[in-house]
């Protein structure tokens, strides 16, 4: 296995929160994804040296930034880590150019100027170099913060929710720019977000954090397609988590019962008959058959509509199946075509490929 | 330890002596051509300052106990101890009250609501006032009316500004404030001796001795008398 560029494994105990992340990343775009309060910002702050873990290590390119056993705890000044906090924290009384130059005090004058010019040009900020941060737009502020962090040629770049203060319309554009920068600098970039869409759009590696612990760290597609635990599954949008009982685990498809219904599940491993299995189904991967369809063969469920919740251009429908709930998402036109109303019974259908086996129950 | 200085005599003097000593200094300077400087403060402050190395040549106190303490500690020269004047305690009433106070017993009269005296804990005139009340047998009636001034001057000020109806203060203060006053019988309080002594470490013992001598001179004694002090025991 090739050595990762950056590894962290530490524990940080706070009065009512315990942070214990463990992950490694290479020179890639890694996204730390989790719910609000999961410990994302705190993790970044620990990596930057702004809070001190109680134990463990943080290693960058083979050097320890922190190691409780060896008694190493480099101050933020000496970590060679670029940090862009959530609201950029630009120095409000200094010009854009001075902000960028702030970390370059130890360079000779000419070199410092050259470096600043280069970065301002790269970030398309030349015209604004004399303005104060309050006088430029949100996207320009973000680019300034990025330029400031990159000026010192860090070996790792940390960014906390960099798109929160940027227009939706601009985000796609800024994301591309960020991906390009990551490739140019060829350093690990760890970016924090609580937006699934953003995680999906950016991540090469996706690191999922929940209640202070890393619950899965893998390629983006791995995490989205094969969540390891129900928590990850839910975070990835698989809101339907079912407990099923294996009936036949020997064939190419696994057969299992969920209450009165039999489900065929695409699964390459094998499972003992009678064992319990956790599976996840995305609400958009459940189809609703038109009124009057039959509901007998496998992967067909009879369900009653309990609630209809319009969400943006979609409808999220809550169905009861026996006494359990299934969430189904349909587009608005499809919903109109189905002519559904609460209390009605319908047949739901799920493809075996849409039922994902979740290996580790929480 | 005071380093030798070709400077004027520096005299630590009780604040209550301020107006009197300022007058004496002028006469003395005219006579001898030697300048003197006073550092006025409360007797308690001055004693602490001397203990901590204040460069005073002479300590002139309204409280003989403080001088004796410092003599005992070796800071003042016992041989130079001079009781140069004696304080007189008087009874004063607020000017606009229009009462004629005739004796200390009058203070017990309910018409008198409050009585200012200097703090008996550290001011000699306060101590004398307390003795007076006790010996006159009015302490029970007067005690609840007492207001302690920070100094005997403060007590006088309280009467002068009409904030207390009466007070037991120094005659010198009453005179300087133009307050009509009633002298109290001497047996009611122990003598308020004003004592001076020369600092053991002074570098100017000759000048200092000259000044003490001047304090006993008829000229100085005349000033004391005029200001409301009684001539010292010599």
């Amino acid at each position: 296995m090739a050595a990762a560029d950056f590894r962290a494994s530490f524990e940080l105990r706070l009065p009512d929160f315990n942070l214990a992340p463990r992950f490694e990343i290479g020179p890639e775009m890694a996204v730390l994804f989790g719910a609000s309060g999961a410990g994302k910002s705190l993790t970044l702050r620990a990596l930057a040296g702004l809070v001190r873990p109680d134990q463990g290590y943080i290693r960058l390119n083979g050097h320890a930034l922190f190691d409780s056993e060896e008694g190493i705890d480099l101050p933020p000044q000496d970590r060679g880590v670029g940090y862009v906090p959530q609201h950029y924290a630009l120095f409000p009384h200094q010009s854009i150019a001075k902000n960028v130059a702030f970390g370059l005090h130890d360079l000779p004058n000419a070199e410092r100027k050259a470096r600043v010019s280069e970065l301002l040009a790269r970030m398309r900020l030349e015209q604004l170099s004399d303005r104060k941060p309050g006088e430029v737009s949100g996207g320009q502020q973000q680019r300034t913060a990025l330029a400031r962090a990159l000026a010192r040629r860090p070996d790792l770049l940390l960014m906390d929710e960099p798109f929160a203060a940027v227009e939706e319309d601009l985000r796609a554009h800024l994301r591309e720019e960020l991906l390009r920068i990551q490739k140019d600098f060829a350093i690990p970039v760890l970016l924090v977000t609580h937006s699934r869409a953003e995680a999906y759009a950016l991540a090469e590696r996706l690191i999922v954090i929940s209640e202070g612990e890393i619950v899965q760290s893998a390629s983006r597609d791995d995490v989205f397609r094969r969540p390891r635990t129900p928590t990850v599954a839910r975070l990835m949008g698989m809101t339907n988590i079912l407990q099923v009982k294996v009936v036949d685990g020997s064939g190419t498809e696994l057969l299992a019962d969920w209450g009165a219904f039999r489900l065929a599940i695409a699964y390459s491993g094998s499972r003992a008959q009678g064992s319990t299995l956790t599976v996840g189904i995305r609400p958009e991967e459940i189809r609703i058959a038109p009124a009057g369809s039959e509901a007998q063969s496998a992967n067909r469920l009879t369900a009653r509509l309990a609630k209809d919740e319009p969400q943006g251009v979609d409808h999220v429908l809550q169905f009861t199946v026996d006494d359990q709930l299934l969430e189904v998402r349909v587009s608005h036109p499809a919903f109109m075509a189905l002519d559904l109303s609460a209390g009605q019974e319908r047949t739901l259908r799920v493809e075996p490929e849409s039922i994902h086996v979740i290996p580790d129950p929480d | 330890s005071t380093a030798p200085r070709p400077e004027p005599l520096t005299i630590a003097a009780a604040a209550s002596l301020a107006p009197i000593f300022d007058e004496l200094a002028e006469i003395y300077e005219d006579e001898t051509g030697e300048a003197v400087i006073f550092s006025y403060s409360s007797t308690g402050n001055l004693a602490q300052q001397i203990r901590n190395g204040a460069p005073f040549d002479i300590f002139a106190s309204a409280d003989e106990n403080r001088v004796d303490e410092l003599i005992a500690e070796g800071l003042l020269d016992e041989g130079t101890r001079l009781a140069f004047a004696r304080g007189v305690l008087v009874l004063v009433g607020a000017p606009e009250l229009g009462l004629s106070l005739e004796s200390v017993e009058d203070l017990a009269d309910p018409i008198i609501r409050d009585v200012a005296i200097a703090n008996p804990r550290h001011a000699p005139y306060g101590m004398a006032a307390a003795q007076t009340l006790l010996r006159a047998g009015v302490e029970v009636a007067v005690l609840p009316k007492l207001v302690y001034g920070e100094s005997v001057r403060h007590a006088g000020l309280l009467v002068q500004t009409g904030n207390t109806d009466a007070g037991l203060i120094a005659l010198s203060i009453a005179k300087s404030m133009d307050l009509p006053s009633l002298e109290l019988p001497e047996e009611l309080y122990d003598p308020i001796q004003h004592v001076a002594a020369i600092h053991s470490d002074t570098s100017q013992s000759e000048q200092a001795a000259r000044f003490l001598e001047f304090l006993s001179s008829p000229e100085a004694q005349a000033v004391f008398e005029r200001s409301g002090l009684v001539a010292g025991e010599g």
Binding site: R45, A48, G49, L50, P75, P76, Q77, D78, R79, V81, G82, Y83, V84, P85, Q86, H87, A89, F91, P92, H93, F102, G103, H105, D106, K132, G134, R148, A149, A151, R152 | S1, T10, A12, A15, S16, A18, P19, D22, I37, F38, S39, Y40, S41, N45, Q48, Q49, R51, N52, G53, A54, P55, S151, R153, I173, S176, M177
Partner: protein
């Protein structure tokens, strides 16, 4: 012979200078700290405000006087603080210090803590961060603290009387001269001197405010 006014201005000026310098340093050390040591330092700095100046002066006298080891050592290296105007500077500095620390600390803590954090990841020393980022953004609090300190130093009397004495021409500052006049029953002089002190204080405070806003405003304009 120095006039009480000149002496007062010299003492208050120097004391303000020292109080501002030490006060800024202390505010820097204390801002956003929650440690035991920080709390104790904070309390120690505030004490000169709580203790009556005379009492403070007494403790200073004992601490710096000829009989204390510190006083003896200072004297051996030629520094004589007791009964000198330099002693008055020490007293005024100590009483003015908490005013600088208090308001500067509050202003520094009002600065977004992310600014400091980011600055640290950019390799700058804590001192540089403090001087380049925090202080310029906290200038109003510093100015207010400096003004309070100057006013307090100019009016200082209790501790000064104790440690520096009341020696005309040497240690008699204007407030002490006023005390002296009051003691001598010369209320006319006292009023005159108090008026002088008042006018001087008002003129200088208004001056400091204008100068301070102008200077600080130039460095840290932003939108402030």
């Amino acid at each position: 012979m120095v006039s009480p006014l000149v002496l007062s201005l010299r003492v208050a000026g120097l004391a303000t200078l020292f109080a501002v310098v030490f006060g800024i340093a202390l505010a820097a050390l204390l801002a956003r700290r929650r440690s035991m040591a920080a709390n104790i330092t904070d309390a120690a700095v505030t004490l000169p405000l709580v203790l009556p100046p005379t009492v403070l002066g007494y403790y200073l006298l004992v601490l710096l006087g000829a009989q204390s080891p510190l006083g003896a050592w200072l004297e051996s290296i030629g520094i004589d603080l007791v009964f000198t105007w330099q002693g008055a500077v020490v007293a005024a500095t100590i009483v003015a210090l908490p005013l600088v620390v208090g308001s500067t600390r509050a202003a520094i803590e009002a600065v977004d803590p992310d600014l400091r954090d980011v600055a640290r990841t950019l390799g700058r020393s804590n001192t540089a961060i403090f001087l380049i980022i925090l202080l310029p953004l906290a200038w109003r609090g510093l100015l207010a603290g400096g003004m309070l300190a100057f006013a307090r130093a100019l009016g200082e009397f209790g501790a000064t009387l104790m440690i520096a004495g009341n020696i005309p021409g040497r240690t008699q500052t204007l407030p002490i001269a006023i005390y002296d006049s009051v003691q001598a029953g010369d209320l006319a002089s006292a009023n005159r001197q108090a008026l002088l002190l008042t006018v001087v204080a008002v003129v200088l405070l208004v001056g400091i405010r204008y100068l301070g806003s102008a200077l600080a405003g130039r460095n840290a304009r932003g939108r402030g």
